[in-house]
């Protein structure tokens, strides 16, 4: 028994080793500071008189930060952020629901899946953002076209994962449920749903970043508000600080969203062996 008890302990140890030490953290801060300082200096900052880049081409970090604050104070940031995130989340939600439903249907209806396979593969291999112009044409400059682009990009990720999830259901586990007296409802609840859910949660991170880029690219192509629209506008006016400020904002938003989905994934899939063991 003593031997068996050591198993979970070793699992816990391996997981904690994945956390970076204080030294790595210190070096990361140092690297970031070095980059920002070099960048500041190379764009005419720090009073060194060095101007490797024109500030209309590469904006100076301190001026980007100032513009960021100005953008936030003007109230435009909240408006743009709201527009972009609403489109992204709505697209994520609708795309996920659609992808999961169609994935389930195709997973069970082999005939249907076989007939539709070439179409799905062709649509999926179409570079996703290239449908943006036609969506603008169909749905106009408002939010609908952005939601549609987000939905389209997320749909295929969720569809393929759900479809594969249904196909990878372990027949031995289905047998186990059946010999214990379980019917189709028990098989669904105890085996199929958990299997499919694990594939869906594994696809969540990709879907979230796809949804965000779908919304922003949609705004590039044609919009009246949103982060992508504001960025394109600033770019046209050579307002380079604003372009960089919005890029920084998008990076921040993406990091937060991806980290949230990573945590959701880790929590939902906590029953899985650590990746290193899955080899």
């Amino acid at each position: 028994m003593a031997q068996a008890r050591s198993v979970p302990v070793s699992v816990a140890r391996r997981r904690s080793q994945a956390r970076p030490g204080a030294r790595v953290l210190a070096l990361r801060v140092l690297l970031l500071s070095a980059i920002v300082l070099f960048w500041e200096a190379a764009t005419g900052g720090l009073g060194l008189g060095w101007r490797a880049f024109e500030t209309t081409i590469v904006a100076r970090p301190s001026l980007i930060a100032a513009d960021f604050v100005g953008y936030a104070r003007s109230g435009l940031m909240v408006r743009d952020l709201r527009a972009t995130l609403s489109a992204a989340f709505l697209g994520l939600f609708l795309g996920a629901v659609g992808g999961i439903i169609v994935g389930l249907v195709f997973g069970y209806q082999r005939m249907l899946a076989a007939v539709f396979e070439p179409l799905m593969v062709a649509l999926n291999s179409l570079p996703r953002i290239t449908v943006a112009p036609i969506l603008i044409l169909w749905f106009g400059l408002g939010m609908t076209s952005k939601v549609a682009l987000s939905l389209f990009t997320v749909f295929f990720v969720m569809f393929f994962n759900t479809f594969l999830g249904v196909r990878t259901v372990d027949p031995e586990l289905v047998k186990a449920v059946r010999v214990m007296g379980g019917g189709p409802r028990h098989v669904a609840r105890m085996v199929v749903i958990p299997t499919v859910a694990s594939w869906i949660f594994a696809a969540l991170r990709t879907s979230v970043s796809f949804a965000l880029s779908g919304a922003v690219v949609g705004e590039f192509v044609g919009a009246t508000r949103g982060l992508g629209y504001r960025m394109l506008l600033a770019s046209g006016l050579l307002h380079t600080e604003r372009v960089f400020a919005i890029m920084a904002l998008l990076m921040l938003v993406a990091v937060i969203l991806v980290e949230i989905s990573r945590r959701v994934e880790v929590y939902m899939l906590r029953w899985r062996p650590p990746l290193a063991e899955m080899g």
């Binding site: 047998k175 010999v179 007296g181 029953w271």
Partner: protein, 273 residues
């Protein structure tokens, strides 16, 4: 050496002229007949691929008529088993692989059979904990299957089946994937549990030593298509302890005696494999 049936005991499993042929052309078993009494522990031993597992699948209605043609008669507890009918509620089946649900904790896994059969939550938890105690899994209730050893997983699979109290338990080489020591420990635990519960057990294995350690009777299967070649009584008294048992000269003698017949089947198999 055939067993002298105790007339007063009721027959729990009756297999009569069973033949299974897959539509692909493979004949798995041919004309198999034997009976198992209520509360009896019967081991079936034979070369791998001799159709032993297929027979268990037929008993538990896991083979559909789309897969294979089944002849003859199977009755459990007087109820006829037919293809394409749901498995009988009085049956339990422990597979070679533990078949625990990886997304359920150990205790949730142990409760899953009772859950299907509709036992109330409090009752499930109480029974699961009691069984977890008897096989030494206490403290691991909240672990997921991947976090514990293969022996612990197979223990959990065993008590998951015991928990919903089927009268008849089919076991398909449940200890086959375990190391020799763990296997003997689990054999001992199984014997202890069986002695306390008086379940009827039909245990399939390709390991002759395991068969005569566990079984009150040992049914010898031929190579595919599997048929019953011999049925031996195993006279060792209960309760048995696998480790002591293996030290007895009677054990070695019986093992050698049955082995002579079985080895011919293994030799014959060698040519095909």
């Amino acid at each position: 050496m055939a067993g002298s049936p105790r007339e007063d005991d009721k027959l729990q499993i009756t297999i009569d002229g069973l033949g299974i042929r897959f539509h692909g052309g493979v004949e798995a078993v041919r004309n198999v007949s034997f009976t198992v009494r209520s509360g009896e522990f019967v081991a079936v031993v034979g070369p791998s691929g001799c159709g032993k597992s297929t027979m268990l699948n037929a008993i538990s209605s896991l083979i559909s008529s789309e897969e294979a043609e089944i002849r003859g008669r199977i009755a459990v507890d007087g109820t006829e088993v037919h293809v394409d009918t749901p498995p009988l509620r009085s049956l339990g089946y422990v597979f070679q692989r533990d078949t625990l649900f990886p997304w359920r904790t150990m205790i949730q896994n142990v409760e899953s059979g009772m859950e299907i059969q509709g036992a109330p939550a409090a009752e499930r938890a109480r029974r699961a904990r009691a069984l977890i105690d008897t096989v030494g899994l206490s403290g691991f209730e909240q672990y997921y299957p991947h976090q514990v050893s293969g022996g612990m997983r197979q223990r959990a699979a065993l008590i998951r089946t015991l928990a919903y109290e089927p009268q008849v338990i089919l076991m398909d080489e449940p200890f086959g994937a375990l190391d020799a020591q763990t296997r003997m420990i689990l054999q001992g635990e199984l014997l202890r549990i069986w002695a306390g519960s008086k379940k009827t057990i039909l245990f399939v294995t390709h390991d002759l030593a395991e068969a005569i350690t566990l079984g009150e009777r040992v049914i010898l299967f031929s190579k595919r298509p599997g048929t019953v070649t011999q049925i031996y009584d195993v006279p060792f008294p209960q309760p048995r302890d696998p480790i002591t048992l293996r030290g007895l000269s009677e054990f070695a003698q019986l093992h050698a005696y049955i082995w002579r017949t079985l080895s011919e089947e293994f030799r014959a198999e060698g040519g095909e494999a």
